[in-house]
């Protein structure tokens, strides 16, 4: 592990290795300043981001100004929020006033929002310096971050591998200690699956638990914003900053925020807890090493006092099909606004083109293949004559999946499964096969369809490749605290049994990425896929 005192040179050790909780406590106790802490992260970003490509934009001036203001306020004896001065990274899907926000798309390469997303306002109110904007699959469509228009993010565990997606930038940044905390968005697994393959923690809160206002929409009825962190309690702290009713988001729930921090710091005894293993997403097609760690996790839960029961959710087999109708349908409409008329990329054909021609040319130039694929799919599914057979039918499946969950939660307090079927695959491996790519999210999608909360925590490293695997926890709507209670207990037990947290086994991250080779070449060739 590095112990370098880079940058400011004032820190006695590498501050970036601390948990967010320790950072907050250290700041409160005056052990170090927010400027030192922020600078330490900026230095590490400068050193490692060229290889990782986790950040699309680094706002050193803005972050340091926010840090300085926190330090001054603290010196003046002002009462400050718990995470004041702890830096954070924001997925490039959330609008940040004055900071370019691209959603990983050529279409918005130069788009500077005139307003902050509600969650960004909440980060600013929490006095957290924003380090920058993290890379993602274009408009959050993907499971590998390879669909970013600005190049793939690399997994800090192995630079030849993907960091998951769509929020690969946020998870890679947190895993590589470029940021202690980050914001993600999860439409079908985009927080949980990257967490699983980078050995970090990620939560998709209950739908409506966190405001979507100002977060660029992929599929409105599925999108949810949540925290990325290295520990369960760190995630809980950020979760509480983000959550709560927002009058600007009509789908935001007007109810008290689930007590997730209290749950994450409460008892580690799970006696009496019923843990349901979802049969349909816990076996077939999963990598053996992932399944082994999952089975061990079940043993640990048993050791903590929990009772393990098997539950069946028979309609989950239709989840993928329903998801890939609902998502493209909503996305085809949500992405219609990118027409070059008011903002965004404008490419005009020669001559004196009509508005319609400018729209068409710009959308052709601005959108990548995966985005076009889903727009076409969604436009088709919503077309008259097909609506009932596709969108209508998918909505019925959605109801059945919610019913499956309701029945399952009568038998169990939380449900569990491996988060993703495999550990991180190699860059380029699945770019030619969209179906194989989509299957990454087979275990995470049902939660989005039902609107329930889910979390991924590391279950260990898979034996066959030494890469991180994740276990997914699911709870009923607005019972997010159950995830944190169980997650924190299991996390502690795993650390104890495995000789420390998974993230401590992260190898030194090389400062340069491997030359594009056999695998990576395909990653940059996004054309021509079926």
């Amino acid at each position: 592990m590095t112990d370098a005192t880079t940058g400011s040179g004032t820190s006695p050790r590498d501050l970036t290795r601390l948990t967010a909780v320790r950072m907050a406590d250290g700041l409160a106790a005056g052990e170090f300043t927010s400027v030192e802490l922020t600078q330490a992260h900026l230095d590490r970003i400068e050193r490692l981001n060229p290889a990782l490509n986790a950040f699309l934009l680094v706002d050193a001036d803005g972050a340091l100004a926010a840090a300085r203001a926190v330090d001054e306020a603290r010196t003046a004896g002002e009462e400050l929020p718990r995470l004041a001065g702890v830096p954070v990274a924001v997925k490039d899907i959330a609008c940040t006033q004055g900071l370019t926000t691209t959603a990983g798309s050529r279409m918005l390469e130069h788009f500077v929002p005139p307003y902050d997303a509600t969650i960004v306002t909440r980060l600013r109110d929490a006095r957290m310096p924003i380090l920058g904007k993290t890379n993602m699959d274009e408009f959050a469509m993907g499971s590998s971050t390879e669909h970013s228009a600005f190049g793939p993010t690399r997994n800090p565990w192995d630079l030849e591998r993907i960091p998951g997606g769509s929020g690969g930038g946020s998870s890679a940044a947190v895993a590589a200690f470029l940021a202690p905390l980050a914001i993600g968005s999860d439409t079908g697994g985009s927080i949980r699956q990257p967490a699983a393959v980078t050995g970090t923690v990620g939560t998709k809160p209950t739908y409506g638990g966190v405001s979507r206002y100002g977060v660029i929409a992929l599929a409105s009825s599925l999108d949810q914003i949540g925290p990325c962190a290295r520990t369960v309690v760190d995630a809980a702290l950020l979760h509480e900053v983000l959550a709560g009713h927002d009058p600007l988001d009509s789908t935001s729930i007007d109810a008290p925020v689930p007590p997730v921090v209290a749950a994450a710091t409460g008892t580690r005894d799970l006696t009496g807890l019923r843990v349901g293993v979802v049969k349909e997403i816990s076996g077939k097609g999963f990598q053996p090493g992932v399944l082994t760690r999952f089975q061990e996790a079940l043993d640990h839960l048993r050791a903590l006092g929990a009772e393990i029961v098997e539950v069946s959710c028979p309609h989950f087999v239709y989840a993928m099909a329903a998801y890939y109708l609902i998502l493209p349908s909503e996305a085809s409409s949500n992405l219609a606004r990118y027409d070059a008329m008011r903002y965004g990329l404008r490419v005009a054909p020669d001559g004196s083109p009509s508005a319609e021609q400018v729209m068409a040319t710009s959308r052709d130039a601005g959108f990548g293949d995966e985005v076009k694929r889903r727009i076409i799919l969604g436009t088709y599914a919503l077309s008259s004559g097909y609506y009932d057979a596709y969108y209508g039918q998918a909505q019925k499946v959605r109801t059945l999946i919610a019913d499956d969950f309701r029945a399952a939660f009568e038998q169990a307090d939380v449900l569990v499964s491996p988060t993703a079927p495999t550990t991180a695959f190699r860059i380029g491996d699945k770019m030619e096969d969209p179906m194989a790519m989509y299957l990454n999210d087979i275990a995470t999608i049902p939660a989005n369809l039902a609107g329930i909360p889910g979390m991924s925590i590391p279950s260990g490293l898979a034996d066959e490749d030494g890469l991180p695997a994740g276990i997914q926890l699911l709870a009923p709507a607005m019972e997010d605290q159950r995830l944190y209670a169980v997650g924190a207990a299991l996390e502690a037990r795993l650390a104890q049994e495995q000789g420390g947290p998974v993230i401590d086994r992260l190898p030194e991250v090389p400062e340069t990425a491997p030359e594009p080779g056999r695998h990576t070449a395909a990653g940059t060739t996004q054309e021509g896929t079926a």
Binding site: C95, P113, L248, S250, T251, S329, S333, A336, R337
Partner: protein, 515 residues
């Protein structure tokens, strides 16, 4: 070979009466009403008319990435009140839907509207169609209302260059997004059949009745000339005796009551000519041209137009409680037609007088003027006479002259109290319009007052009689009507400040003639 001198887009028509002898017209009207809420349908931007372009916008109504809508509760209440006033059923649960199509004045490239779940449906309204110039009698026609639903307006495109002011042929276009997101209610009728040759009049009367109703509800400015009320007219013809509806055209841009009648009339004569020739009506939108009185082809429109509607996932369903609906029902004003009948009876106006009052938009002010103490006859005389002429000349509403019902009542009091005569009263009114103050104030300032002292009047009478001995002689000899010339001169002597009737009495008395 004949050479036509008509413009190329002028199509054949047949005389109206001839068309009606062979075909039964069927109409369907779609009326869009901009609500007069303070803010837009889904954001907090001001919804006022006439601001600098693109100054009343925000991330939501500009469709910026990430922006989300929030429903304007007042607009929902207005929609429910409109639905109740149209005798509609109010949905217990309904949703917004996205209507997807690309157009530069629509920021999101979908319009947030309602599709198969409108807030109000299955209503009706009785329309009173007045007698017409051909001497056909007044009658009442029941218009069935299919639905009233909520949606947002689009931005306003202005096409610059080219000759037509339309997008084809324009050099460039500019868009004002101030209008984007203004709350709209679209009111759609069921097919209107059975009006025969009176169909265009029924349509006009329907829009007029709707306008009165919406004005009484105070939910919209209903200014057709400003676009806060817009009408699209669907017309089709079916052969007399047929049971299957014909192919329709949808005429847009029909933006005055008169145009509603004219445009439908024109379409009937145009459809008839096409059908007479054994050809088919092409289903399309048509543009009404106020100046030439014709319609021209717009874009093809088929029932297969695919807007890919689906429920708006960024909004939650609207589910008005039955208690709220009943509370809103309690806020409905008296039905304008019933109210007119009641007031006409109370005021003793003839049908013609009442129609003038309604056309002058003076029902409210007359009611207030009468409440302030004026007689109904005097109130009508001022508001539909002198004041209506002044308003007309200035191109403003009669209520915008700066003259209040209290002013008119005060003026009437000055006349009936014998302080002013009619011509003096008109001068006083001129002063009130000019902002010189209230009637009594203006009369004082301008020194306008009838002379009450018979002494001065008698002196003037004697002076005039002495100067006109021949006329005086005629009157004395029984030609009483000759006194008129003498009265005029006496009034001139008195500089108008005399009561002409009293002057006549004194002249006759002096000459010893019985009145």
């Amino acid at each position: 070979m004949t050479i036509s001198t008509r413009p190329v887009h002028q199509e054949d028509t047949v005389p109206y009466d001839e068309a009606l002898s062979r075909y039964e017209p069927v109409m369907g009207l779609e009326v869009h009403v901009e609500l007069n809420t303070a803010t837009k349908m889904f954001c907090g931007c001001a919804a006022t008319f006439g601001a600098e372009p693109n100054t009343q916008t925000c991330p939501v109504c500009l469709g910026l990435p990430g922006a989300l809508p929030v429903v304007n509760a007042t607009a929902v209440e207005s929609a429910i009140r409109i639905g109740l006033a149209l005798n509609c059923t109010i949905a217990e649960w309904c949703r917004f839907a996205r209507k997807n199509y690309f157009y530069p004045d629509m920021p999101k490239n979908f319009q947030t509207s309602q599709y198969d779940e409108p807030i109000a449906f299955d209503g009706w309204i009785d329309v009173e169609v007045p007698a017409n110039e051909a001497g056909e009698p007044p009658f009442t026609f029941r218009v069935e209302v299919e639905r009233a639903h909520m949606e947002e307006d689009t931005g306003k495109s202005t096409h610059v260059g080219g000759s037509t002011g339309r997008i084809h042929g324009a050099d460039y276009s500019v868009v004002d997004y101030n209008r984007a997101g203004i709350p709209l209610i679209e009111i759609v009728t069921k097919p209107m059949l059975g009006a025969g040759d009176r169909a265009p009049e029924v349509a006009k009367a329907y829009v007029s009745t709707l306008r009165d109703l919406l004005r009484a509800l105070d939910v919209s400015d209903v200014r057709m000339e400003q676009g806060s009320m817009r009408c699209d007219a669907n017309v089709s013809l079916m052969p007399v005796g047929a049971e299957v509806l014909g192919t329709r055209t949808e005429t847009k841009n029909v933006n005055s009551l008169r145009s509603v009648e004219r445009a439908i009339r024109y379409e009937i004569t145009r459809h008839a000519a096409i059908l007479d020739a054994g050809e088919k009506i092409f289903q399309e939108t048509r543009h009404w041209h106020e100046d030439t009185g014709i319609t021209t082809a717009g874009r093809p429109k088929s029932d297969a137009d695919d807007y890919r509607y689906f429920p708006e996932p960024d909004l939650v369903p609207v589910a008005p409680s039955r208690e709220d609906v009943e509370r809103l029902r309690g806020t409905l004003p008296e039905n304008p037609a019933e109210r007119r009948r009641r007031l006409q009876a109370a005021w003793g106006y003839t049908d013609l007088e009442m129609r003038d009052v309604v056309n002058a938009g003076a029902v409210e002010v007359i009611q207030d003027t009468v409440a302030s103490g004026a007689s109904p006859a005097a109130a009508r005389k001022w508001w539909t006479g002198d004041l209506a002429r002044r308003a007309n000349a200035q191109g403003v509403a009669v209520t915008d002259l700066g003259v209040t019902p209290a002013h008119v009542a005060e003026l009437d009091g000055l006349v009936t109290g014998g302080r002013l005569n009619d011509s003096m009263a008109r001068q006083v009114l001129e002063g009130v319009v000019a902002g010189e103050g209230g009637p009594a104030e203006v009369a004082d300032a301008r020194g306008l007052e009838l002379v009450q002292d018979d002494g001065a009047l008698q002196a003037a009478v004697e002076k005039v009689l002495a100067a006109n001995p021949d006329v005086a002689e005629k009157v004395r000899g029984g030609k009483v009507q000759a006194a008129g010339a003498l009265i005029g001169q006496v009034m001139k002597e008195m500089r108008g400040q005399a009561d002409a009737a009293r002057a006549r009495e004194l002249i006759l008395a002096t000459l010893g003639v019985d009145a």
